[in-house]
């Protein structure tokens, strides 16, 4: 498995889904998934999607600057570390962010997000 290719494909899918239809992210999380969003801890697909769909903006666009990935261990997991910009509708300046994902394989040959941590990078 080419972890670089898989992680880049995941990142593209994640952010294009986020930007087009946030509710569509539900399929990427499971009951044991954990999100820490700007310090707030949320567990489980339903709660995570509720959080993401209730963020205080309608439209946004993520632009990815860097993607780093590493295998996380013998279970076939991958760690993906992303940095980029987040443009919110109506805002003059884009926000900068960093995010890490820990992807775990599913029996169907895909991946789900076990760990997800998001932080804005303030100047």
């Amino acid at each position: 498995m080419d972890t670089d290719a898989v992680s880049k494909a995941f990142v593209e899918h994640y952010y294009s889904t986020f930007d087009a239809n946030r509710a569509g992210l539900a399929g990427l999380y499971q009951d044991q998934s954990m999100l820490t969003f700007e310090g707030q801890k949320i567990q489980g697909s339903q709660s995570i999607v509720a959080k993401l769909t209730s963020l205080p903006f309608q439209q946004c666009q993520h632009q990815i600057t860097t993607v780093d990935c590493q295998p996380s261990g013998p279970a076939g997991g991958m760690l993906v570390f992303v940095s980029g910009n987040l443009q919110l509708q109506g805002e003059q300046h884009a926000l900068k962010f960093s995010q890490m994902f820990h992807l775990m394989p599913t029996p169907q040959g895909s991946f789900y997000v076990l760990n997800d941590i998001f932080r804005l990078n303030y100047a």
């Binding site: 310090g39 940095s83 076990l114």
Partner: protein, 125 residues
């Protein structure tokens, strides 16, 4: 359990940057042969290679100031994901650099932790 995780993460982060800033060669003790570091996009594996890379960074002194630490349990029993953001001050540089770094900590014998995964990125802009 939650609190314990946060405490371990904070203690580790404090120890890591303290070593980095004051005794960089001792960082080797936190890695094992399976450890992987990605430093500004460059991938390095194993204790010796990682220690060499960190030792050869083009500055003698530096000071990390941590702004945020987020922790979550990893897939390993007792493993911890740690996500850090902060500033890095280099001597002679007027402006501090900003960075983000993530660690996956795995329990080692003796009740301590080692760094299995380490990714470091400067935050430009």
């Amino acid at each position: 359990m939650e609190e314990h995780l946060e405490d371990v993460g904070k203690t580790f982060v404090s120890h890591y940057y303290n070593l980095f800033d004051n005794d960089r060669s001792s960082l080797a003790s936190l890695y094992q042969p399976s450890s992987v570091l990605t430093f500004e996009g460059q991938k390095i594996q194993g204790v010796d290679n990682i220690a060499t890379k960190l030792k050869q960074l083009p500055f003698d002194q530096c000071h990390h100031v941590v702004s945020t630490i987020d922790c979550q349990p990893s897939s390993f029993v007792g493993g911890i994901m740690v996500f850090v953001s902060g500033s890095l001050q280099l001597p002679g540089e007027e402006h501090t650099l900003r960075f983000s770094q993530m660690f996956q900590l795995i329990p080692s014998r003796g009740g301590s932790y080692f760094v299995q995964n380490d990714v470091f990125r400067l935050n430009y802009g």
